[in-house]
């Protein structure tokens, strides 16, 4: 079952809407709370990343009997050094973004921690795609 959610770059007041929608679906599917929590935390981090850094993006969620596949795609500046971005505390967020309580440099590392599989593809000046897989069994 496939779902798609648009994300608006720079609109922090809406950051979290897609994660909430996915969470509601997973609850309706009777996915165990612990799995929901992990996935939704990862998803929320991803959503905030798009809002904070990219121009726009979208989240694709594909739910199958044994796994949930999520792909967060954005059009944005891209990540020049993915390895560096995966380190805790590393952040390129602007001061304005940090003042809103975002941009602590925990985004990607936290996503990795909460996903069974994480893959980041990025092209500087074009955009980033983060893929997450969470196993249901």
């Amino acid at each position: 079952m496939k779902f798609k959610y648009e994300i608006e770059g720079g609109n922090f007041s809406k950051a979290g809407n897609a994660s909430s929608a996915v969470k509601k679906i997973l609850k309706q599917l009777n996915v165990p709370p612990a799995i929901i929590k992990k996935l939704v935390v990862a998803l929320y981090e991803g959503e905030v990343n798009v809002v904070a850094h990219a121009w726009n993006g979208c989240i694709h969620v594909d739910i199958e009997a044994d796994r949930i596949f999520v792909s967060i795609e954005d059009e944005g500046p891209g990540i020049p050094d993915i390895e560096q971005a995966m380190q805790e505390g590393y952040s390129t967020a602007s001061q304005a973004v940090r003042e809103m309580g975002f941009g602590a440099g925990m985004g990607l590392p936290n996503m990795k921690k909460n996903a069974d599989y994480l893959n980041v593809k990025s092209e500087v000046g074009k955009g980033t795609t983060v893929e997450i897989i969470t196993f249901l069994k």
């Binding site: 079952m1 979290g16 994660s19 909430s20 969470k23 509601k24 679906i25 609850k27 309706q28 599917l29 009777n30 996915v31 709370p33 612990a34 929901i36 929590k37 939704v40 935390v41 998803l43 929320y44 739910i63 009997a65 309580g101 249901l136």
Partner: protein
């Protein structure tokens, strides 16, 4: 109907209910449907918050309460009085006066619910300190505990498993009376409740197996009785000496008001009242959007217990009065002297036991089946108009679609689908009316000049 063992205090008076959608629209868990012209509450989904009761224009939703005479089944009749009852009365009425009147009504003992808040706070501070996951969530409000069980089961581990004052005080006073030599079966503890959720919590406690409370008395009922007696006394100026009680600390007096717990806890504490506000916040909390908060005080009613659905007085005035009363008791210790001898007993009796999830969100217990049903729901939503008019007897299109998939409703319940079916000659006008009567009751669309706002409204029976 299978009630799944959960007692609910809120009931629908089917004679008074005329089938409107006020209650259905405000229900925070979408637990209400209209069937045969009256509201029906789904027991698995209801958290007893009382929003429906507040919204009902004809007082058709009521709380089931114990008959007052039930107190006389016991030799030792204890009234457990929460501070918000005192807050109903004008300043010139003293606590002593209120309690002496209650004894005249038949109680042998009058105790204050907030007597144990000092002990509870101490236990909560410690538990919150040790909590693996922050923020720790208070278990004070029974409607909120039920809400977490059905809507936010992943947060259940964060709820502090410590008895709220009502239970802790009931356990404490029962023990003390037993120690005075009164047999347990002679002791009847009756809680004067400001809300429906506490009634449900007593009849069907979460966590604990059996409630230490024997009955609940509607605060509106007892308030009227007390006030009448106090008034008549003033007129005859025969004020009898009041019952002296250990004084409550300012913290205890304000405990059930918004901020009452949060102000006593350590670290960054937030107090959130009103159930829709709580839901909004818990949604955020669930995906770790909220960081660095240590404690959450969550209450289902606006202005917390002062805004309880069974509190007759204005909630803002009640809050103001209690704050003023609290000022008069500055310097009173948080833990009353009489509890000190029971420190060990209380430490062993504050736990509420495990809280089980009761998720009502799932379309099916089996994940594969739930997926199939969700696909059906999405397909149905392609056809439903998305107007959320509630004319089908469900609160919105999404709920109708889910009900259809659960085989609890039919697509033709939608008045817009009916139009389309009539257009394609798949439904006769007569049949469509029958469907509407099934939901809204027979003759519901007949002319009725006595209804609210109609020509002869004043003739309505009140």
């Amino acid at each position: 109907m299978v009630e799944s063992g959960f007692y609910h205090a809120l009931k629908v008076d089917e004679d008074k209910c005329f089938g409107c959608i006020h209650c259905m629209n405000v229900c925070p868990t979408a637990a209400i449907r209209i069937l045969k012209g009256v509201a029906s509450i789904r027991p698995d989904w209801c958290v007893d918050c009382g929003e429906c009761m507040r919204a009902c224009p004809v007082d058709a939703i009521f709380v089931e309460q114990d008959d007052f005479d039930k107190i006389f089944q016991y030799k030792c009749r204890v009234a457990l009085v929460p501070a918000v009852l005192i807050g109903q009365f004008p300043e010139k009425v003293t606590e002593a006066e209120i309690f002496s009147v209650m004894r005249e009504l038949g109680f042998t003992h009058v105790f204050q619910t907030e007597h144990t808040t000092g002990v509870i706070t101490r236990a909560m501070v410690e538990a919150a300190r040790d909590a693996e996951e922050k923020p720790a969530i208070s278990s004070f409000c029974p409607a909120i505990v039920r809400l977490v069980q059905i809507k936010f089961p992943s947060l259940l581990d964060q709820v502090l498993a410590i008895k709220p004052p009502i239970d802790a005080s009931a356990v404490y006073f029962r023990k003390r009376l037993e120690d005075e030599g009164i047999p347990s079966e002679d002791i009847g503890i009756f809680y004067i409740t400001p809300c429906a959720a506490k009634i449900a919590a007593v009849k069907s406690p979460v966590g604990e197996e059996k409630s230490p409370i024997n009955g609940v008395i509607n605060m509106k009922f007892i308030y009227n009785k007390i006030y009448k007696l106090i008034k008549s006394r003033n007129e005859t100026s025969s004020i009898s000496p009041g019952e002296m009680l250990p004084l409550l600390s300012p913290g205890a007096i304000k405990y059930s008001l918004t901020g009452g717990e949060a102000s006593l806890m350590e670290g960054r504490c937030l107090a959130i009242d009103e159930i829709h506000n709580v839901i909004e916040f818990l949604e955020k909390l669930e995906h770790d959007e909220i960081e660095g908060v240590d404690f959450l005080e969550l209450r289902a009613c606006d202005q917390s217990c002062a805004g309880g659905v069974l509190v007759g007085g204005n909630r803002f005035l009640t809050t103001e009065r209690l704050n003023k009363r609290a000022k008069r008791f500055e310097g009173v210790a948080d833990i009353p002297a009489d509890i000190k001898a029971y420190t060990h007993f209380m430490a062993n009796n504050l736990d509420i036991g495990p809280l089980e999830p009761r998720s009502m969100m799932a379309l099916d217990q089996d994940m594969g089946e739930a997926m199939r049903k969700m696909q059906q729901v999405r397909h149905l939503m392609c056809f439903l108009p998305g107007i959320d008019c509630a004319a089908c007897g469900a609160p919105n299109c999404q709920s109708l679609a889910e009900d259809i998939v659960r085989r609890e409703a039919q697509l033709s319940a939608c008045v817009f689908i009916q139009r389309m079916m009539e257009k394609h000659s798949k439904l006769s006008g007569e049949h469509a009316l029958k469907i509407i009567e099934k939901i809204w009751g027979k003759n519901r669309l007949d002319k009725d000049c006595k209804k609210k706002g109609a020509e002869n409204e004043s003739n309505m029976e009140l």
